[in-house]
Every structure is written in structure tokens, then in C-alpha cells.
Symmetry: C2
Subunit: 224 residues, 2 copies
DNA sequence: CGTCGTCTTGATCTTTCTCAACCTGTGTGG
DNA sequence: CCACACAGGTTGAGAAAGATCAAGACGACG
């Protein structure tokens, strides 16, 4: 079902799942090109055009997201994992990828990756794209070092209402929103009350309506 | 590149990406079976055998993980997204899936999903499996409501050292670990010092060695 | 119309963040 | 080869944000 990733990294295309899928060894050629990166370097940066998909053969890479001009760590990727798959369904990278231990990564341009995947519309491709799409839209869980409760709530409301117009998060229970934002329901309640008093939102016991995006943006930026 | 998900949900297999990939309309049949679920119900529960892969056609589903016998919300899935893809590479579900608004979901047994994806070893399948594997091993970001800083650190050390033996998190900088655990570096430092004093770990400025898993488990469970 | 679950509000206490100083291992240049 | 500077980490004291506990209000539902 799941082969364990080699502890010391993948050293050859013959032992690499990507290489094998490209039938390296039976005359195939792998579209991915090996590169070495030192610790501290970036493979790509959030919001850059997503032009290359990466695969980690050795080493560790940190996926981070900028919050208040500081890097917040979302997860660690290591041997045998992809980076930048969002290229499949999104024009820009959604994270920054920072190498934290000398790494071998192979990269492939989006259109070559696309060709490598085979014809569009096949089940496996569709499943892959849907799976990636889900992670792209995903809002990572927030925690206090990401800013005060007020700021986290304001930011979350803004991202939630980017697509849907003003009627935020229909039907998600307060306790669940609170959990997602890394706070207890009481704190969320107080913060919403404050935002309502300042006129940024209108709140009932089960709905949150964004009235003033500008005010929310200010709240998301300002301290306290 | 990415078609926007229909706001009111997918109502027919003809307009469903899964149905289309199964060539419904050209004589194909979709292996997924529609089901309706009311708000509050569970599609599956964490650690159950992962036997069914789900696809959301309408409604919203919460993915949660148990921490200290409370549900911590990891993310929200809605129309057009998969649930339980971990079935591809993992014997059990890694989250619980709770329906929060009346939903239409279609489910398919793992082996049928497997067959639907097409022959193993094709690039798209390999990419899908690697992508899923990455999310399965991923440690979700922790936040204060998940317990005190001490408990979060203890839990994280335990999960990190499950596979690798005792030499935790080689080479990840303190500030990055702190960010991942939703605290500032100073707090992490203090917590590690406490754990070191109690003999659970040995700490240098750039390594953490787990000495006493039992002690860590106690710390992960106990308050303060 | 009454009960229950969920959310809100209030008062208090704890945790953890902040700011600052200090330490230590690493890398640099003389 | 050693001294020095620097980044990253640790430790300490104080302040503030948020957690907890408890009580009350609102809305949903039978």
C-alpha cells in the first residue's frame, strides 16, 4: 500500500517513484531535472507564478505562509513528497518553500508535468486535480503567534468572503470557527462583538455578515 | 485551469467531474453512489478502517481530529472536494468527517475507487498517491486551545519520534518548530528546558533527543 | 409554550507573549 | 590559527491577552 520513504533520500531515478512511472529503465526518460539546494534557499515564494512543480528526493523543505510580514510554518515536506502541485489548478504558489537541510529536488515546468500526467480527463488526473484544489482553498489553522484573536478573526472573515459575497461561513457553528482559529468560543464571541460595535460586521447568533471590508482590513493589520 | 465549483452543489453526474471522468453520458457508469446526510452526522471517524472514499456534491463537511478528547477542526471541505483519500495509502482514516450542512455525498469502496483510477503505476496515479501520502504524514499546526504549550510540545515530540528513533526533528530550527506549534521561540525554549529538567528529553541548542517516552506521554496528557 | 443546546456576557486568574539582556556555536577575516 | 562578530537560542521580569468558570439570554424544536 505505502512503501516507506528511504531514510537517506532517493538517489537514482530507478528507485524514484516518479522515475519508475516515467518508465526509466525501460527506455523512458524522466522529465524532472535534478537540482541541489543548500539549506536556507527558497525553491519558490508565495504569490509568484507557479511555473515549476518540485519533487523532493532528499532533504527537507518547509512550507510557509506570510502573516503580518513574518513566515508562519504550515508544514514540513521531505523525501518523496511534491511541492508546488498547486501549479495544476492555481496561477500562483500558495506557500513559500524554504530548504532547511541540503536537499536534492527535481523540478519540472508545469506544462511538462501536465504532459507527463497523461491525457486530461482521466480519472486519476481528475482526482489529483480535485485533491489539489481542496488544499489550495484550505485555510490553515491559525494560532496566537499569528496575531491577536481580533486580527485572526478579521483575516479569516476577509478570506472567507473573498469569493462568496459578504455572507460569511453560512452554517458553520461558532465553536467550530473558534477551533479553526485556535481560540475558545468565548473569545470568538467577544471579538465578534467588538467588530460589530465598530460596525465592521453584523452578527446574529448564527450568521456573520461583513459590512465594511475596509474596516476589517484595518483590524486585520492593526495591533490589539 | 480551474472551474469554479457550482454554488448550489453538483446536482447530476453529467455536471460532476467524477461522472465526466467515468464517461457518464457516453455509456459509462460512475462507481460512486449518491447519499444524503443531515447536518451533525459523521461520514467516518478517525482511526476507523478507511474503506470508503467520499466526494462532496453539495454541502459542507468538517474534518476534525481528536485532541484531549475534544474535536479540533482541521479544515472544511465543500462541494467538489474529496474526503478520505487517505484510503489510498493508509489503512485507517486520519480525521473524522462531520457533516455540518445537509449534504449530498457520493461514496465508493476503496477497491472500486482503485479500479476507477486505472492501472497502478501511471504517472497521474503515482502523483496522486504521493500527494496524499504527504498530507497523511503532515502534522497539523497546533494552537493554544489544543492544550498548554507543554502538552503541545510533548505531543509533537511523540509523533515525530514514532517512526524515527529518538532523534527528533533533525535540523529543523527552533523558531520553525515554534511556529508550527503555534507559540513563540521563547515559550518553546522554556518548555524544552522544563522537559529536560524532568529527564524526558535531552536538549542542546540544535538537537532534541527523546529519553523517556513514558514521561512525555504523561506530560502530553497532564494539565499545566 | 416550555425545554434544551448553543451562544453570549461578566469577573477572575493563568498562560504566554513581549521586551531586554545574555549566552554560545559558527563563520569570517586578519 | 585565533579573535571577533553575528545569528540563533536561552533566560528573566513584567504586562497583556486569552482561558476558565459561572450565569444568563436567545433561538430552535418538540
Amino acid at each position: 500500500m505505502s512503501q516507506a520513504p528511504p531514510p537517506d533520500g532517493i538517489t537514482s531515478c530507478f528507485s524514484c517513484p516518479i522515475g519508475q512511472a516515467a518508465q526509466v529503465g525501460q527506455g523512458g526518460r524522466c522529465a524532472f531535472i535534478d537540482r541541489h539546494r543548500e539549506a536556507g534557499g527558497y525553491l519558490y515564494v508565495e504569490e509568484e507564478p507557479a511555473e515549476v512543480v518540485w519533487f523532493v528526493k532528499r532533504g527537507q523543505v518547509l512550507l510557509t505562509r506570510a502573516v503580518d510580514s513574518t513566515e508562519v510554518v504550515r508544514t514540513v515536506r521531505s523525501t518523496g513528497e511534491f511541492l508546488g502541485l498547486e501549479a495544476l489548478v492555481h496561477p500562483t504558489y500558495i506557500d513559500s518553500a524554504r530548504v532547511i537541510s541540503a536537499a536534492t529536488v527535481c523540478g519540472v515546468a508545469r506544462q511538462h508535468f501536465d504532459a507527463w500526467l497523461g491525457p486530461p480527463g482521466t480519472p486519476a488526473r481528475v482526482a489529483l486535480e480535485q485533491a489539489v484544489r481542496a488544499t489550495v482553498h484550505e485555510v490553515p489553522r491559525a494560532a496566537p503567534p499569528d496575531g491577536s484573536a481580533l486580527r485572526r478573526v478579521a483575516r479569516w472573515l476577509l478570506t472567507q468572503t473573498e469569493a462568496e459575497k459578504e455572507k460569511a461561513s453560512a452554517g458553520v457553528a461558532r465553536r467550530d470557527i473558534a477551533s479553526l482559529l485556535g481560540m475558545v468560543p468565548e473569545t470568538l464571541s467577544r471579538v465578534l462583538a467588538r467588530l460589530a460595535r465598530s460596525g465592521a460586521v453584523e452578527v446574529t447568533r448564527r450568521t456573520i455578515k461583513v459590512c465594511d471590508r475596509a474596516a476589517l482590513e484595518t483590524a486585520a493589520r492593526r495591533a490589539a
